[in-house]
């Protein structure tokens, strides 16, 4: 017992010693590095940097991303995008003539970790603005903290609640969930010219909030909900729900959920010989849905960001920017950018635009400039923020996609 205590004390002492040394070493190197700029090396260094890039203290951004855990399919491409952009911006002369630095913290898709991460960014890194988080749960957890601290938060998640009051310090880059509902319903009423819809939705948060939104706005589009049925994410077979829907005789079946539910529904509709068009949500805007539903995926229609089908861009400036982003991202990671990469690109672009217009990195000045954002182009859309509207996008920024021959094409207009 005693000897183990002695060992423990030794270990603690030793580790303190080692960390102390490292700490000293660290500060020593910074002082030595700083020295030449004060004396002889000063002119050399400054001429070098003005020739090749930005000078001065970096402008520090913080990002809280779900780089690991269940949200990693969102957070990982966002992390890759921000890393890539940091290099690009600094190579191109920085921001306000200063280099930028993005401190990225991983929240492990856990709201508690997100809180710890954002406190670290605010207190230790003294960031001028925060991007994040990737998932709605984490974003809602950090929103009160940035609000309290008076630091702008650029949210990268889609829940409608993120831009519900209080919104003073909170802005959003991706299209909110309600926008996808608007886009889908607009397409049904304006292009397909149908009025009787049936809704099949997942009972989880994603499906239920989609359903609530559909019920709220359907009358605005002249749509009648003739049947609504639900399922649990892992349910084996949805023919019971679809038989009930079939009996209500809808003109179109709207399915609001994420994989694999909608794929089961598509197959079951074929089994039941239902010929109504299948309109999905942006939750199936991935190759997985086509792989799962296979032949039954043919003809399925859903709203999605334009980044998924670059040929849908109509604005030439936006198209050029998106093409470059897709190429850059492919070079950096070897894959096509998923929607989430576009959100990170948009978020940082919006913050940098505001800082440029403000000519300052004072959080209050950034905040004021964000509120005056007008016509800022990103692959996700063209942003206009106002004091009351912290969602810069409109339904037109999304597009409607159809699955044809196992791939995505623009839905007929």
């Amino acid at each position: 017992m005693k000897s183990s205590h002695v060992v423990l004390v030794l270990v603690v002492a030793l580790s303190l010693f080692v960390f102390g040394l490292v700490g000293c070493g660290g500060s020593e190197t910074t002082t030595t590095a700083a020295l030449p700029t004060d004396t002889t090396g000063a002119s050399n260094v400054s001429t070098d940097t003005t020739a090749s890039g930005p000078t001065g203290d970096p402008i520090v951004f913080g990002a809280v991303l779900s780089a690991t855990g269940p949200g990693s399919p969102l957070g990982e491409p966002e992390r890759a995008t921000l890393g890539m952009m940091e290099t690009q911006v600094n190579d191109a002369g920085g921001l306000l003539g200063r280099p930028i630095k993005i401190v990225i913290e991983d929240d492990q898709t856990n709201p508690k970790e997100a809180v710890t991460a954002v406190n670290k960014l605010l207190q230790q890194d003294k960031v001028v603005a925060v991007l994040g988080s990737s998932t709605s749960g984490s974003t809602l957890a950090i929103k009160p903290i940035t609000q309290q601290a008076g630091i702008p938060l650029m949210a990268l998640a889609a829940s409608n609640a993120i831009t519900a009051a209080p919104i003073t310090w909170t802005w959003r880059a991706p299209p909110r969930d309600a926008l996808a509902v608007e886009t889908a319903l607009t397409y049904i009423s304006k292009v397909m010219k149908l009025t009787k819809i049936a809704v099949l939705y997942d009972e989880n948060a994603y499906g239920a909030s989609g359903m609530a939104e559909i019920e709220k706005v359907a009358p605005d589009y002249g749509l009648t909900i003739v049947a609504k049925e639900s399922y649990k994410t892992e349910e084996t077979d949805l023919t019971a729900q679809l038989t009930k829907i079939k009996a209500a005789n809808p003109e179109v079946v709207v399915v609001w959920g994420t994989n694999p539910g909608p794929a089961v529904a598509a197959k079951n509709m074929d089994q039941l010989g239902m010929t109504q068009p299948f309109v999905g949500s942006h939750g199936i805007a991935n190759a997985k849905f086509i792989e799962l539903a296979a032949d039954s995926a043919e003809g399925v229609i859903f709203p999605a960001g334009r980044l998924l089908v670059p040929e849908s861009y109509t604005d030439p400036e936006q198209k050029a920017q998106a093409d470059k982003f897709i190429a850059d991202y492919k070079t950096a990671t070897g894959a096509n950018p998923p929607t989430f990469a576009g959100h990170a690109f948009g978020g940082l672009t919006l913050l940098m635009d505001a800082i440029t217009r403000a000519g300052s990195t004072d959080p209050a000045a950034i905040q004021k400039a964000l509120g005056e954002t007008k016509g800022v182009v990103t692959p996700d859309g063209i942003y206009n923020y106002t004091a009351d509207n912290h969602d810069g996008l409109v339904a037109d920024d999304l597009t409607v996609v159809q699955i044809k021959g196992g791939t995505w094409v623009l839905a007929p207009r």
């Binding site: 609504k228 049925e229 349910e235 084996t236 019971a240 694999p260 794929a263 089961v264 792989e291």
Partner: protein, 296 residues
């Protein structure tokens, strides 16, 4: 409601119910030998499906991949018994049941790390052209699940009633100490039960994967429903487990069809479990369970 609609609800119930039934059979097997409720049963279903998917992806022909997955999962069941249940034989039933809950979480997490978070598809054994019966349709794959369930239940009845090993299993269930005194190797019976039970669950997973896809979390709901089916049919009776599974599945889908409100599918679990509770009030041993006297 027209006949074709009614039939369609029944077929839908059979599709869901047959997988509940197979899972319930797995519960029954282990319960009969050990009195343990194995809460990792749903995870064995999931592992069966995912293993078959991987084998098929590696180029193994579909029927071989399916059989291979059953064998692999049976081995996992055996290893699980040796590693987690056997060391606790003296610790009591409750401890062992809690270990199976832990194992289900561990297996689910392991599956997520191996196969990722997304569900994966498997092609059906004999095509997916629906079979038309009086205007209602059923998938050939559903008939496979149903056929396998019935074959397994018949085989199990024969095994329990006609073979020496089967009788030994039953003996262990009734009185492990007496069985041991009669020369039955209790530990071997337990091992056999876990292996067989995992194999039956895996059969379910392999056969249902083409209908519903299979992901790391698919086992949770199936395990829960399979357990409910077991209780409904009478814990310990293989035929009761199958009947319980099919009844539960059909009850759920008829709830969707007969509740005359929009969104009745949201209530189907509630209605099914309400009926389960009522059955247990009237007949605590389940529909086909035998009243047992336990001497204390």
């Amino acid at each position: 409601m027209s006949l074709d609609q009614f039939l369609q609800y029944v077929f839908s119930g059979i599709t869901n119910g047959s997988i509940y039934a197979l899972t319930a059979l797995g519960f029954t097997l282990i319960y009969n030998a050990t009195d343990i409720i194995n809460f990792a049963q749903g995870e064995f279903v999931m592992l069966g499906g995912l293993t078959a998917i991987s084998l098929y992806k590696w180029g193994v022909p579909l029927p071989v991949a399916c059989l291979g997955a059953v064998v692999v999962v049976a081995l996992i069941g055996v290893i699980f018994e040796l590693a987690a249940i056997r060391p606790l034989l003296s610790a009591g039933i409750m401890t062992q049941i809690i270990v199976t809950v832990g194992a289900s979480l561990a297996l689910r997490t392991a599956a997520m790390l191996i196969w990722g978070r997304e569900a994966l598809p498997l092609p059906p054994l004999t095509g997916d052209t629906p079979i038309d019966v009086l205007g209602a349709t059923i998938l050939p794959q559903t008939l496979w699940v149903l056929g396998a369930t019935l074959a397994i239940v018949v085989a199990l009845q024969l095994f329990y009633k006609r073979t020496l090993t089967g009788k030994a299993v039953r003996a262990c269930s009734v009185n492990p100490t007496a069985a041991r005194l009669m020369g039955v190797s209790y530990s071997r019976v337990v091992l056999l039960s876990f292996g067989l039970s995992a194999a039956i669950a895996a059969t379910g997973g392999v056969l249902i994967a083409p209908v519903s896809f299979m992901g790391y979390s698919s086992g949770a709901l199936i395990g829960l429903k399979g357990f409910a089916a077991c209780i409904l049919g009478g814990l310990g009776n293989p035929a009761g487990a199958v009947a319980g599974g099919l009844i539960l599945g059909i009850l759920e889908s008829l709830t969707v069809g007969f509740l005359p409100i929009q969104g009745s599918s949201g209530y189907k679990d509630a209605v099914a479990f309400l009926i389960l509770l009522l059955v247990l009030f009237v007949k605590p041993q389940g529909l086909f369970g035998q009243r047992t006297m336990e001497k204390v």
